[in-house]
Symmetry: C2
Subunit: 421 residues, 2 copies
């Protein structure tokens, strides 16, 4: 790194990474310490462990337990700086990212890793009544509604209204919906039971509504069947072939029937973030940007897209799913590839996804795990799930805190974060 | 409790407690299991451990770490119910509390324990720029401002504006102000240092402004002097004889000088909550309601006031200070007294305060402790402070989590709750 051997010091190449999710952060870490200047831009000051957001929404964990400051994660890499800001656009010609505050940041390589959000099948007005599980604000909103509904039910005497307040509907039978429905069931049937004098939270109704013929469509059928039985045992009513027709402040209409419900959670219909517009490129129907095998954008060799925003094709010829492990592997791969490319001029190798297993947890002692053929379910899958999720949490302090809270909750059913804020 | 011995079952007497702070909760617990019906009314669903709010404001703890659901604390007492609601008034004639939602709750005995809030010396417009430390919302607001200021300072290049963004002013040299100033110093000089590339958080300015001649006026002078030295060692500038003359969005004016500052915290001028208006009684200048030795309100033998709202006179003839330990002892005393009075007809005994020691923490290894004559300072006082505060936290789960986070922070300087939300 010394310029003492007579060479004139060159300005190091600049890699700009937009988004500090699983993909962006892995990419930045892989570039840490390299003779490359890296800027990570994110709207928030923290990296969020999205797979555990439903535990914040159901008061099992605090927001800070699943969020770690981006600066803390990257502090030891002197060549990486963090900018908290909103990206407004990209000037492809001048190779500049412009922020909403007017600032311009030039780049030699741009990595776009801005993820995805839920979309409400074109009904934007539904979003206010049925928050998704993508941000801490949404998780806090769900927690507030859920807990406040039981407070209101305790305070009133109208049985019909009480029943509506004690009804939750989760839309979408994928892993997020399954985990959310299971967690709500545990919250109301165990934690809240016994704390009220006028209502019995055990009489709550929790509905998981799936438009398709079965839940967990991304998993082998035996695991989907196991999840249905386990959810039913936990007190969740599963409605398949039941697309949602309407969402209002009062409830949802499913298959012609209006179900009054105070808490509605949206876990269906993922859409990529609107970053494609910055690049002026075509996307698929879900807003994803098709990428080359090396994750670059066709026609833009210096621009890369990773994570939920990327439409990358796997070895089986199918698009890779929008999973944390895909984003993380892409980020690591791209960071290492850029490092070799920018430092030694090595070519950019293609990305290959290695499936680490697909999982969903239903509740206490019940989860499913699919390691591409080898299937696990029940208590063993649940233990595996917990170990792996604690291991994947960024930051050792958070790992300790989350483990402790899970062990505590397992034995006491107490939940540490039941704030109506 | 059986009605089998021929007596007609009587409706048990009804005690209504407004406010689930230290006083109200202690009173409810002392009445738990008695042949008395108890209703606890609070605006929030959680009891807040206010003495540690400054640790939430400085990102050391999560809101949920210092809050515990009121229902959880009281769940095992079947005779106690919890109502989440806002009290709108009290009908003394009909012995009814009316809630903002229109509901009426009758009582045989009423305990008012609604605490105090900060007041900005008659300048209500200052409150928006200088939040106090009374609620989780305020603590979150301070945390957000503090952390966002350093993000902004890193993003801009104007040195004067950077200096303002890296300046914090804490108003009030009592325990709250001292603890807040010390905690800000630790946050910026240890945790944030090394995470920025364009600013050096160690160059931050932290000012503790006190209107009187010295800080910690409620403590013996040697402890006040120790605190001044310890704060100076931590990088805090102490300004005594420095009443605040103006607070704006840009900073504060103290002794004619305007100090540009992004973060202003208010810790001076406590005022009792406006509950006196419900009872139509006279208060002192601080809004406190004078009480009889048995904590009842003169002229209203069935109404009691405890905690920060009560103006109770101690053995030394002086008003008891607004401390958690005073409220807690009053609540315990009143709960036990009401129990004996309502069940056995025993007279209401007078309350006597027993001083358990007065403490303030400055930072790492530095605290002061006054046990009414025996003074401790430095590392021993700091250890005592930590042990006692963990012990006093409600809920064993929270004790574990807080202890773990303190030990973690002591060794790593990492803070677990650095969210800009």
């Amino acid at each position: 790194m010394s310029a003492a051997d007579g060479d004139k010091p060159k300005r190091p190449p600049h890699v700009v990474i937009v988004g500090a999710g699983f993909g962006g952060l892995a990419c930045a870490k892989a570039l840490g310490g390299a003779p490359v200047f890296v800027t990570v831009i994110d709207r928030r000051n923290y990296h969020l462990f999205q797979p555990l957001l439903y535990q914040v929404a159901t008061a099992a964990l605090s927001p800070a337990n699943i969020a770690v400051p981006i600066r803390e994660v990257l502090r030891r890499h002197g060549n990486v700086r963090v900018v908290m800001g909103e990206v407004a656009g990209v000037d492809l010609e001048r190779q500049e990212v412009s922020l909403a505050n007017g600032r311009q940041i030039g780049f030699d390589r741009l990595v776009v890793a801005t993820g995805s959000e839920y979309h409400h099948f074109g009904h934007d007005d539904w979003a206010a009544h049925a928050p998704g599980l993508k941000s801490l604000d949404e998780a806090r909103a769900i927690r507030r509604r859920l807990l406040a509904a039981y407070e209101e039910a305790e305070a009133i005497r109208d049985p019909a209204r009480q029943a509506a307040l004690m009804t939750s509907v989760v839309v979408g039978g994928g892993p997020t919906g399954v985990e959310m429905a299971g967690a709500i069931a545990e919250l109301v049937r165990w934690t809240l039971a016994g704390e009220f004098r006028h209502i019995d939270p055990k009489q709550s109704r929790i509905i998981l509504a799936e438009a398709g013929p079965r839940i967990l469509p991304g998993f082998p059928e035996p695991l989907g069947r196991f999840a249905e039985r386990a959810l039913a045992d936990h007190g969740v009513t599963i409605m398949t072939d039941s697309p949602v027709e309407e969402v209002t402040a009062e409830g949802v209409r499913i298959a012609g029937e209006f179900i009054p419900a105070a808490t509605i959670v949206w876990g269906a219909g993922v859409k990529a973030s609107p970053a494609a517009r910055w690049l002026g490129v075509e996307t698929d129907r879900g807003g994803r940007i098709p990428v080359n095998p090396d994750l670059s954008v066709p026609g833009h060799a210096n621009i890369f897209v990773i994570g939920d925003l990327a439409l990358a094709i796997g070895d089986d010829g199918l698009p890779l799913p929008g999973l944390a492990q895909v984003a993380k592997q892409q980020g690591e791969h791209l960071g290492r590839a850029l490092r070799r490319n920018l430092v030694r001029g090595a070519p950019m190798p293609p990305f290959r996804f290695r499936n680490r297993g697909n999982t969903a947890v239903i509740g206490r002692n019940a989860a499913v795990f699919d390691f591409g053929g080898r299937l696990f379910k029940g208590r063993l899958a649940w233990l595996l799930w917990a170990l792996i999720h604690v291991y994947l949490l960024v930051g050792f302090g958070n790992r300790l805190l989350v483990s402790l809270q899970w062990v505590w909750r397992y034995f006491t059913h107490e939940r540490s974060a039941r704030l109506i804020s």
